[in-house]
Amino acid sequence: MIDQLKRSFAVAKKDMLIFYLKGPVVIMGLLFPFFLFLAFLIGRNLPDEQLFVGLTAMTAFFTSTAVGPTIIPWECRGRTFERLITAPVSLTTVLLGDFQASLYFGLAITFAIAVPAVLYFSLGLGWVIFITATLLAVGTFSAMTVLLSSYPPTDVPADVMMLTSLAKFSLLFISGIFVPLEKLPSYGRLVSYISPLTYYVDALRHSLGRGYLPLWIDLGMLVLFGIAFFFAGVAVHKRVLEKRFT
């Protein structure tokens, strides 16, 4: 167990060395949320709190899902995957490593953006809530990439990229970033509950003193989504593993 955990860290280290400098990662993970945020900002007279929530939520969501989905397709394409998976590690260990790569990248960038933003806007932030929610959320989004990378079992990174973008945007627009939950019509609110991002946005608003759902629900749902994503991802990966070797 401990051994496999250590080995998953070796996998994560490899991912970080290789994948963080790839073009698509930089674009999807850094530039993209930046421009999206500008679009969100310009022409609207939004209160500082809502700006902070929007900025942080988008950054966390995009940075932690930037690397993950394409790692395994890249490995298959580069013909490194068979070598990796025949090392003394289980598939779960490899996926746990890929998960960690997303996690560390997401956490580093999110805090690097959010902390200066708090200081700049001089917000009265509940740090404990903010940090807890961010850790859980980035974990959940990283786990989501394990599921997103699992199907279809392709070796074309662009295919996965397209499907993931589709999923990510659908989630982004139903998550109470652009319109707060309480202002949504009730069917809209129901739809928003299927997105894990909703709970992070709400938890962020709690850290500023005014959430809509109870905080324990926000955090609990993040944990539940995270666990479900990871294990569903592992299960699908196991099922399609043989299709990756041609």
Binding site: K6, K14, T80, A87
Partner: protein
């Protein structure tokens, strides 16, 4: 002697296509075992089942005493196994050293051990000067040497090498063959596939031949050659090169080969005499003339039937 690999009745379907059909064999510990067969015969599929990458539809496989169908036991076996998959690459965005370090970490070695062993291997494989260069700039031969070094980091007891010398120049191939022999001398077990009959003949103590998913022969190279004992051949080259097969009453089959002809015969004495008489009559100079005992290639052609399916 104990068995390093034991495969019983391995069968694998891809969809409805039967790729490997009831293959059984065992490899003794310390043995070099060669697995031959034409393209698409099922060699890679068999290796993948034996290493626990693919799940057989039926059959059993034990490696170093571990049941490869059990997740935990499989990992235990792999800790003592070095694998070179077919057409595998190192990570091109990492340096040679980083690639080796990653493998060492995946095999659970300590930092100090990894550094020491990696430098040793880099020297052995002639990659020491390039150890901090990204693999992207490596030639095919350098990559292949690195891939093999990666399999050797943990000093495993057992190797699976799927076409380790394919596409390499003579020098790189020689280096890899020398490494294989050295590992064998150190008591390691080696399971390898190759399309190079000379390599198989030089390296392997036992050979299995697979065709259309079925294992059709398994024995030592010399015993396999006995199967085609009748097939002695005579190879001759004249100057100027001309040859009329009808002058030979003793030939079974005549194959032109570049500036030579190869004549299969049951009676080499008679064939040679006929050839010499022919050369005298036609005033040809004999550039070379030799008799060849059956090679592994002859065995292969005989068993596989000269068809590639």
């Amino acid at each position: 002697m104990e068995k390093a690999i034991e495969a019983v009745n391995l069968t694998k379907y891809y969809g409805s296509f039967l790729a490997v059909d009831g293959v059984s064999f065992s490899v003794k510990s310390g043995e070099v075992f060669g697995f031959l067969g034409p393209n698409g015969a099922g060699k890679t599929t068999t290796i993948r089942m034996v290493t626990g990458l693919l799940r057989p539809n039926s059959g059993e496989v034990r490696v170093l005493g571990c049941n490869m169908l059990d997740e935990r036991e499989k990992i235990r076996a792999r800790e003592k196994t070095g694998i070179v998959p077919e057409m595998a690459n190192p990570y091109v965005d990492l340096t040679a050293m980083q690639n080796l370090r990653l493998m060492g970490e995946l095999y659970g070695m300590s930092k100090a051990e990894i550094e020491k062993r990696s430098l040793e291997l880099l020297r052995e494989f002639g990659l020491y000067e390039k150890r901090n260069v990204k693999v992207r700039g490596f030639s095919k031969g350098m990559r292949q040497r690195l891939i093999i070094a990666m399999a050797m980091v943990a000093d495993p007891e057992l190797y699976f090498l799927d076409e380790p010398t394919s596409g390499l120049d003579v020098i790189s191939a020689r280096l890899i063959k020398d490494v294989i022999r050295e590992e064998k001398r150190a008591g390691k077990t080696i399971f390898l596939t190759t399309h190079n009959m000379d390599d198989a003949n030089e390296l392997c103590e036992r050979i299995g031949i697979i065709r259309r998913g079925k294992l059709i022969a398994i024995d030592t190279p010399e015993k396999l050659k006995q199967l085609v004992k009748g097939r002695v051949s005579v190879e001759v080259s004249f100057e100027p090169m001309k040859f009329d097969p009808s002058v030979l009453s003793s030939a079974l089959k005549v194959e032109p080969m570049g500036d030579k002809v190869k004549i299969y015969t049951k009676d080499p004495d008679k064939t040679v005499k006929e050839l010499v008489r022919y050369a005298e009559r036609e005033k040809l100079r004999i550039v070379s003339l030799r008799t060849l005992s059956p090679s592994l290639e002859d065995v292969f052609m005989e068993l596989v039937g000269g068809r590639n399916d």
